[in-house]
Every structure is written in structure tokens, then in C-alpha cells.
Amino acid sequence: MNIELQIIFNWIAIGFYIVSTVFFAYSVSFQKEKALRPAMAIALLGLIPHAIAIVIRWQMTGHGPYMAKYEVLSSNAWITVLLFVIAAWKIPRLRPAGVIVMPLSFLMMAFGLFMNPEIRRLPPSLRSIWLVIHVTFNKLAAGAIIIALGTSVLYLLKEKRQEKDFYKRLPSLDVLDAYSYKFIGFGFIFWSITIAAGAIWANEAWGRYWGWDPIETWSLITWLLYGLYLHARYFLKWQGRKAAWLMVMCFVFSVLTIFIIPFVVESLHSEYFR
């Protein structure tokens, strides 16, 4: 019964997010700025059934949303939407980025539901406070990166169609570029904390803080790529289109690290994404 209830709430949330995406898409495509407000409100409403679904799941499994594809994807989507709603509420000009953030979020949820909604239990190695820190910051990093992707894509769109009214109402190219930089900065901090917490935890569990496990290595690769982005911006003064495309590449590597590699290779980390 609980499983059914949780799936129903998930689909309700997906419904909200889809409607919100339609409003965002309508707003961006037809240059209707007024549609942004209901789009935001509907996204906010969607967070409620989504949170209920996560809490039900939490109660059923006895652990947080960090085991199995379904839990990981659903909670990542929730954090992403929440971060986006907060950021767009504080900075209204970021709202059009919803056209990227919302579909990515509901696609993550739907993908999780189709893949593996079965319950997975917590192995002994994951019963540690460091898991909570490690996973929470990884989800925050994912959220920040998705928002940075949204602003970078808006940058690339606006650059091509600057003369259209709607795009004129978006933040200037410079500002969009600066927000991408800022959110990548957030992502970098959260990713660093994820790695640090994971390393300390690994030392507690296995007596070494780095073991070149495939996911560890890919996580380092992604972190280095963000480091490269930040250094290229600061020292080589990369900005605008170049930086936006580098951001897209960073995003691809993040997706590869978090969602694809655990499928492909045997790793100590694979357990969370079985």
C-alpha cells in the first residue's frame, strides 16, 4: 500500500513539474514573461507531493534516499527543484532557466520510477554519519550544476537571438555568464565537500582515504574539470560562449560520474545505484 501511495505521489509531482515545464517553455518560446510566475508556483507546489513521496519511502526503507536508482534520482530531482526555486525567488531574472531545470528534474524522477522502484537495504559499510554528509553535498552539487547548466544554455540561446523581445528581457549575457560562474563555484564547493567526506569515511571503513576506486577516480576527474573551468575563467579570462560550452562539458562529465559509471563498472560505490 505504502509503495503504491509513494508512487502515486511521485506521479503527482511529475505532473506538476510537467505543467510547470509547459509554462516555462511557453514563456520562453512565445516571449510571455507573465507565464513565468505560474510556472514557478506550480514547481513549488510539485515539491510538496514529491517530499511526501520521499518521506514515505524513507519510512519504508528505514534509511535516507540514497540507495537504488529510484531513490537517488528522485531525491536529486527534489534538491534541484528546491535549489532552483530558492535561487529564482531571490533572483527573479533566473526564472527562465526553469525551461532547462524542470524537464531535467522530472525526467530524472520518471527514469528512476521506470528503472528500479524496488527497496534496497543499507549494507553495513553505508551505516555511517559520513554517508549523510557525503550524499547530501553530492545532491547539492548536482542541483547547483543543473542550475549552472540552465544559465549557460540560456546564455547560448540568448547569444543567437538577442534581437527578440523576450531575450531582451532576460538578464544580459554578461550577467547570465556571471551566474553560471557563480553556480559552478557552488557546485565546486559542494563537490569538494562530497569528496572530502567520502575520503574521511573511506579511511574509517577501509583504512585508506583514497583507493582509486572507479567512481572515486571519475569523481576526481569531474572535480578537476571544474577546477579547470574556474582556473580558465580566472587566469585565461575565458567567458561567454567558450565558458558556456566548457560548462556543458562539465555537466556531461558529472552525469557520467554520478549516473553512468556505476552502471558500467564494478565499484565500491555501485551499491547506491543498483
Binding site: 537495504r121 551505516r127 544580459s172 555568464d177 563555484g185 565537500i193 574521511i200 579547470l228 585565461l236
Partner: protein, 443 residues
């Protein structure tokens, strides 16, 4: 410029630093994509060598199958450490020497007319509300700054990274790590030679634990989904004087004794004991350690040579005849014995106590017990790495959350001249400047 100075200046140049990041990125990518020695069995590399000798030769020559312990990777890490170290030194020196910005050229100032003259105290109060603090005050120019700590963000972040790399190099040089498979009732001597796998630092020659460990009992529990719920080993530590101490080792809860940490590994399973009696009466006893399956419906499997014979034992072991349990009930073993490469000499189901006649040799399935994988680590202090992680996270937060901002304000009557600068997110700072100017003009 002296050669040493020139060297350090070169390795801290932005383009060189970016190249180092790119090289580390490529090294990690290679390590992730090319099978590494520690991750695959020796037979995998033998097969690779036979199938494509040229590729294998190049990979082996460039040490691409052991990237993280290769000479070139260690050299890269060492250069990164030098670069970070010198960059830190330069940053600290620069920050300590740094004077306030000189007033900008007249053309760069923005002007606003506030209609009325704003008192200097009121201006300072207004700026403080914006979290700008007065840094310098001369007759006609006030200098404010916000997030002054940001100037130290880079130093803090990079010193954290520096400490992590130093800790990693210390680990590589001095670490002592060993893995051993111990059967219930068996005593591990703690001697260097008796480890199953050893991982020693460059400057270490032996790893002698200094005490013995006897495994009393291994415990394993499972969830209904067949995932491991808990594993633990009840051991006795036997010191040099023969004194014993009983301890339990759990995952995430290592046993710490005499400077050695003992961790519970996820490798464990059943150990099957066989006794082979030859026609001349001589006996060989051996234990086959079988790995656990991921489902209770699957058998524990193993394929191993029987020592001092030409026999290879292929085993599929079910702890219970129901073939649906991880726990010992009525165990059954499907055994194939092959002589040489492919000459089968025995095949059948056996239970403990059974004796098989294999070419005149009597092989008895003697008994079953658990074996547990234990990891021994001579713990050198990891606090340097921990401090490094902590510091680098703080540093990154300072760099990206608190950009440094500086504002010059000059007043002549009701006309205010403003100039601002920042080290990050310039377009956002320009917006902030506009807002401040707007508020000041309405003051």
C-alpha cells in the same frame, strides 16, 4: 634571475598550472579507462599480452596499467606539490605586502548628485549597512571593502590541497597495509610473510604486526533482499607475552591495537577442508576458500589447485541442500576434479565426511568453516589529510561565496564620485554598484 627562482616562477605561471590540471585530468582518465594491475587478476594481463603484444608492450612501457604508482604520475604529483607550495609562498608574500588600491584614474569614476550634502558619518553608516567596511580615510576619499577575507581564500584553499598531497606522499612512502584471509580457529602470525596481499610504501621493507590474531567466529547476516546486513569477526589478540584480548571487528568500526588498525573486509565465505591420503600413506591437508555469492540461491564457487598434486578442484558449494540459504544447514558440494588441463577424474555430489577415491588417492571432505578477510593498516596519523580536506573546503567557500569588493567614494559638496572593483562576478557587482548609487542619490 637565478635558475631556482626561474624554475619556481615557471611552475607557478597560470598556463603551467592549467597544464598541470589538464595532465592530472588525463592521468586520471587513463587510470579509469585502462585496466589497472590492482583491479584485475594476473591472468587478465597474461591474456592481454598474448592477444595484443604490441599494445601491451606500450601500455607496460608507459606504466599505463599502474598509473597511480607510475614514476611519471608520482613526478607529476611532486611537481604539483612544488607548484602549490611556491604559489602559496608567493600568495602569502603578495597579500602581506599588498597595499590598498591606488585611487583610479579620473575617467573611471562615476558621479552622482545627491542634491544635499551627505555627512561623512552617515555615508559610512550607509555603507556598513551594505556590509562595506571603511578601510582607509583620507581628506577627500573614503575606501570601503567587503569580504576582505577573500584575499586569503586562494591561500587557504591551496594550503588545504597542499596538505592533502603531502599526506598522500607520506602514505605512499611509509604506508604499511596487508590483507589476510583467516579461517575460524586459525591463528594469523602477524608476520610479513604470512599476509596474502601486502601494500607497502616505497621506504618500507616489512610489515610485521607484532602480535597474533586468532579468529574465533565469523558472523554474517543478510536482509531479505540478500544484501549484507552485517558482518563481523570475533577475534583474540595474542600479544608477545601470550596474553589474549577478545575483540569484535565490524565494518566501519575497526579494532585499534598497538598502533595497528584492523578492518573488516567485505571478502569472506566458506572454507572447505580436504585431506588427501596417498597410497604410500602420506597426507596433505588443504583448505579451499570460496567466495560468497550475491544471491542465496547461487552457490559459493571456487577453482583451485590441490597443493602437491596435479589436481584442480572445481567447486560449487551450497551451505544448505535447499539451495536457498547463506547459512550452514545440510551442506552439499558439487565437485569436479580435473587432472592437468582437461582430464576429468572425478565428478559428483559430496557432503562432509565423504571419502572419494581419485586414482588410488583417498580424498576426504573433512570439514567446513567460515573465513574472514581482515585488513591490517599501520596507521600513520591521517590528521594532516583531514585538516587538508577541511581547510580546502573552507578556502573554496571563501573564494566563491565571498568575492572581494572595494569601493572608493569621494565627496565634493553634493556630488559623490564612486569607483568600485571586484575580483569575481563583475557584472553582478556592477548591478550592486548601480543599486548603491541609486540609494545614495535618494539619500
Amino acid at each position: 634571475m637565478k635558475p631556482l627562482n626561474k624554475f619556481f616562477t615557471t611552475i607557478t605561471r597560470p598556463k603551467f598550472v592549467i597544464t598541470l590540471i589538464v595532465l592530472t585530468f588525463i592521468a586520471a582518465l587513463l587510470g579509469a579507462l585502462i585496466p589497472q594491475v590492482g583491479d584485475k587478476s594476473p591472468s587478465y594481463f597474461e591474456e592481454w599480452k598474448l592477444k595484443s603484444p604490441k599494445t601491451f608492450y606500450i601500455v607496460n612501457l608507459l606504466q599505463l596499467d599502474r598509473v597511480y604508482t607510475s614514476a611519471w604520475f608520482l613526478a607529476l604529483v611532486f611537481i604539483i606539490m612544488l607548484s602549490l607550495g611556491y604559489s602559496l609562498y608567493s600568495q602569502v608574500r603578495r597579500n602581506l605586502k599588498r597595499k590598498d588600491f591606488a585611487p583610479p584614474a579620473a575617467a573611471d569614476w562615476d558621479f552622482i548628485d545627491t542634491k544635499t550634502v551627505i555627512k561623512q558619518e552617515s555615508l559610512i553608516r550607509f555603507m556598513r549597512k551594505q556590509r562595506y567596511f571603511l578601510k582607509n580615510k583620507s581628506d577627500d576619499i573614503l575606501v570601503f571593502s567587503k569580504n576582505s577575507i577573500n584575499r586569503w581564500g586562494g591561500v587557504i584553499f591551496h594550503s588545504g590541497l597542499f596538505l592533502i598531497i603531502v599526506a598522500a606522499l607520506i602514505g605512499l612512502a611509509f604506508q604499511k597495509r596487508g590483507f589476510v584471509q583467516v579461517m575460524e580457529g586459525e591463528v594469523f602470525s602477524g608476520r610479513h610473510e604470512d599476509f596474502f596481499v601486502r601494500d607497502l610504501g616505497v621506504f618500507q621493507e616489512r610489515f610485521d604486526v607484532g602480535f597474533k590474531t586468532q579468529l574465533y567466529k565469523f558472523n554474517h547476516e543478510y536482509w531479505e533482499t540478500d544484501q549484507i546486513k552485517d558482518i563481523s569477526s570475533l577475534v583474540a589478540i595474542i600479544d608477545k607475552d601470550g596474553k589474549t584480548k577478545e575483540k569484535t571487528i565490524n565494518v566501519n568500526s575497526p579494532l585499534k591495537y598497538n598502533g595497528i588498525n584492523i578492518y573488516q573486509s567485505f571478502d569472506y565465505g566458506y572454507a572447505l577442508t580436504f585431506v588427501l591420503k596417498r597410497p604410500d600413506g602420506s597426507e596433505t591437508v588443504t583448505h579451499f576458500l570460496l567466495d560468497r555469492p550475491d544471491r542465496r540461491t547461487k552457490p559459493f564457487v571456487g577453482k583451485t589447485d590441490f597443493p602437491q598434486t596435479q589436481y584442480i578442484f572445481r567447486m560449487k558449494f551450497y551451505p544448505d541442500i535447499s539451495m536457498n540459504s547463506f547459512y550452514l544447514g545440510k551442506p552439499i558440494l558439487y565437485l569436479q576434479v580435473v587432472k592437468g588441463i582437461s582430464n576429468p577424474v572425478f565428478e559428483g555430489l559430496v557432503i562432509p565426511g565423504n571419502v572419494m577415491n581419485i586414482e588410488g588417492n583417498l580424498v576426504r571432505f573433512h570439514g567446513i568453516s567460515h573465513w574472514s578477510g581482515l585488513i591490517y593498516v599501520k596507521g600513520f596519523d591521517m590528521s594532516i589529510a583531514y585538516i587538508g580536506f577541511f581547510i580546502s573546503c573552507i578556502g573554496a567557500s571563501i573564494i566563491f561565496l565571498l568575492p572581494y569588493k572595494e569601493m572608493f567614494i569621494s565627496q565634493k559638496g553634493s556630488v559623490l564620485s564612486l569607483y568600485g572593483s571586484t575580483n569575481r562576478y563583475k557584472p553582478l557587482f556592477e548591478e550592486e554598484m548601480e543599486r548603491i548609487k541609486e540609494e545614495l542619490s535618494e539619500h
